[in-house]
């Protein structure tokens, strides 16, 4: 832990965590340059950088500014929002597996979106409905379990139950749709960045700009103190109940808005905080580093999804699902051996 003091102000940080966070952010940017350089009109990284600096030809400006950059920005923001939301969830539930994927929040967002797909509605309605669905699920989880003082395993089990019910409902909604709509819905359910542009990136950027400072700076230090246990944290002056409520709402919003932009991309919210903990070797939530890593993960996954299988463009959710699923099973095995589960 390094402490920098300037007069009355002091900032504490872990050098390693800071380096990991910066490294991940740089990796996300580098992968991004690589990613927008590829496609039917290949460009070298130098050309990409020159165009981004504003010195490109008209064609290059159009291809990058209108086609490839929006998708990349959406990918980064979705990854960052999912990872931050997931890290907050895991810290709140105090379980390495308490991510929104497992607790049913992403399924709730999907239910909202599917209702719009079946009823027929535009992109904006779909985004709004998925946010409403995610919030409603978070509220339900809170009402069913949390408000009655259920923590830890009980809360997770309640979330698993809600997720199972919603999975059934989602399947039913899928059978109600026309085949073309159903294909669109399945694509959305898997998580895809195809055709995403500024229309999706801007609301997400606004959400992140508002919520990230709240979570990182206003609540982060207090959240770290709740790791000591509720009683100890309360004795240290943390308003535990209020903190939980604010963080829960923020995390649900982050995840739902991310899901409304690109669909519930699997496992990013679950794995990014874990990998961060392994990289930083620091206990606690590690929120900022996790956010950077989430952005890097999604950009990398999208790169693999676009280029990994020549002739096929897979939705990004398939890549994160396949990698994340394997990682999760390995994680379950090791966490059990270490007795942390």
């Amino acid at each position: 832990m390094t402490v920098v003091r300037v007069r009355h102000m002091s900032v504490r940080f872990r050098a390693r965590a800071l380096l990991v966070g910066l490294g991940c952010a740089l990796a996300a940017l580098a992968l991004g340059v690589l990613s927008i350089g590829g496609g039917d009109y290949p460009m070298s990284p130098a050309d990409v950088l020159r165009t981004l600096a504003g010195n490109g030809t008209t064609a290059e400006n159009f291809i990058i500014g209108e086609l490839r950059l929006p998708r990349l920005v959406t990918a980064m923001l979705v990854g960052a929002a999912l990872a931050l939301g997931g890290a907050v969830f895991q810290a709140l539930v105090r379980n390495p597996l308490g991510s929104p994927d497992i607790l049913g929040v992403t399924q709730g967002a999907a239910t909202g979106a599917l209702v719009v797909v079946v009823a027929g509605g535009g992109t904006l309605a779909l985004a709004g409905a998925s946010v409403v669905g995610g919030l409603a699920t978070g509220l339900l989880l809170w009402a069913v379990a949390w408000a009655r003082g259920a923590h830890g395993h009980r809360l997770i089990l309640a979330g698993i139950g809600i997720a199972a019910i919603l999975t059934g409902v989602n399947g039913w909604l899928l059978t109600r749709a026309q085949l073309m709509d159903a294909a669109r819905a399945v694509l959305w359910l898997t998580g895809s960045l195809d055709g995403r542009g500024w229309a999706q990136a801007v609301p997400l950027a606004v959400t992140l700009a508002v919520l990230a400072p709240v979570v990182l700076f206003a609540c982060g230090p207090a959240l770290r103190m709740t790791e000591l246990g509720d009683d100890t944290a309360a004795a240290l002056g943390v308003p535990v109940r209020r903190l939980r409520t604010v963080l829960l709402i923020a995390a649900v919003l982050l995840v739902s808005v991310a899901a409304s932009a690109a669909g519930p991309v699997n496992f990013v919210a679950l794995t990014a905080p874990h990998l961060t903990r392994r990289l930083t070797r620091a206990p606690g939530p590690n929120l900022a580093a996790a956010t950077a890593l989430g952005a890097a993960m999604l950009v990398a996954a999208d790169l693999v999804a676009q280029r990994g299988f020549p002739g096929h463009q897979l939705p990004v959710g398939v890549v994160t699902g396949a990698i994340g699923g394997g990682y999760l099973i390995w994680l379950l095995a090791t966490e059990r051996r270490a007795g942390r589960l």
Binding site: A150, H153, A164, G171, A182, G317
Partner: protein, 351 residues
């Protein structure tokens, strides 16, 4: 036959039934008879209710008289559907009961632990990449998928040391991973999407006589195996050492249960898609009446699970008119709240 001590100890895992309810064999036998009667009633209703409403007499006529106007509807559509409901219900209920016993876990359910999802993933592979479209073809893939996930969830969840939460988490993790795979498989092939999106909800509507015949042998063998391990499972409820002292072989019993669960869940999932909560719900309801003795619990589950599944199916037909609500939705909507209740209210789960 007096209650033996194994079952008394097994009560520790579940809320103990009041002594008066434990009942003597005569009372329990009567209970089984009532369950059988209920099952017959529900079957009759399932034959009569649907898009074309029949009276019970018409339904009976359609069943036995080839000249009856209802013959085609009853024999070709509703009879296979009812029989499939019987088989799948019995399979899932008994699988749930023996899983709850062997893992000493009140929350074990083939759907929640991902076993049905494993079968789904295998069937999705067969459907999307290998061009398999018949239930007869699905069954083998479903069995392989169910076997792989059963072994996996047991190993990952921690085998004998598994706690309810750990197993449920392992199952939820596998569920999430497998369902994302299933959607990917559906995306790559539009024809497969058209078939699979109805199958993945869980429905009895696709039943035809051939389906029942294909599934029957697997379910029958699975049920026989499950009933055969009822006594060792009673002993196992005492803990491994005590069970060994009583002459049971814990490792062999566990292996047998895994085989039975694989057969039952694989066959049921191949025929009607992944159904959640049936295997969770029925054993809990039944245990409240019979007590934890597996020798009574398993037959009662085999009779009452189909009652629940068929009743849910009939309710789906009535509520969803003019179409129908798939039985998978009905069981999720009925079973979900019970699961939440078990998790948040009772002492079944120790946090």
């Amino acid at each position: 036959m007096i209650e033996s001590s194994p079952s008394a100890k097994a009560a520790a895992a579940t809320p103990p039934a009041p002594p008066a309810r434990r009942g003597r064999p005569a009372a329990r036998l009567a209970g089984l008879l009532v369950a059988a009667l209920l099952l017959v009633t529900v079957c009759a209703v399932s034959l009569a209710v649907g898009a074309k409403q029949l009276t019970l007499a018409e339904a009976w006529g359609g069943l036995v008289d080839p000249d009856s106007p209802a013959h085609a509807v009853v024999r070709e559509m509703r009879l296979p559907r009812t029989l499939l409901g019987l088989l799948a219900g019995a399979a899932l209920g008994v699988a749930g009961a023996i899983m709850q016993a062997v893992t000493r876990n009140p929350l074990a359910d083939p759907g929640l632990l991902g076993i049905n999802a494993g079968a789904s993933a295998a069937v999705a592979t067969a459907s999307a990449f290998l061009g398999v479209t018949t239930v007869g073809g699905y069954v083998w893939f479903a069995l392989a998928g169910a076997a792989a996930v059963t072994a996996c969830v047991y190993a990952v969840g921690g085998g004998r040391a598994a706690t309810p939460a750990r197993l449920a988490l392992a199952g939820a993790a596998l569920n999430a991973a497998l369902y994302s795979y299933v959607s990917a498989a559906m995306l790559l092939d539009a024809a497969s999407l058209e078939r699979m999106r109805f199958w993945t909800v869980g429905s009895l509507a696709a039943a035809e006589p051939g389906t029942v015949v294909r599934v029957l042998p697997f379910v029958a063998v699975g049920l026989v195996i499950a009933l055969a391990v009822a006594r060792p499972l009673n002993a196992l409820a005492l803990g491994d050492d005590q069970a060994r002292a009583l002459g049971a072989r814990p490792a062999a019993t566990r292996a047998t249960v895994i085989v039975a669960v694989t057969l039952l869940c694989g066959a049921a999932t191949a025929a009607c898609g992944p159904l959640v909560f049936v295997g969770l719900l029925v054993p809990h309801l039944v245990r409240a009446v019979t007590g934890p003795d597996m020798r009574w619990l398993l037959p009662a589950c085999a009779l009452l699970s189909p009652v629940l599944l068929l009743a849910a199916d009939v309710a789906g037909r009535v509520l969803g008119r003019p179409g129908e609500l798939q039985v998978g939705i009905m069981t999720a909507v009925l079973g979900g709240p019970l699961f939440l209740h078990l998790v948040t209210r009772t002492r079944a789960v120790r946090s």
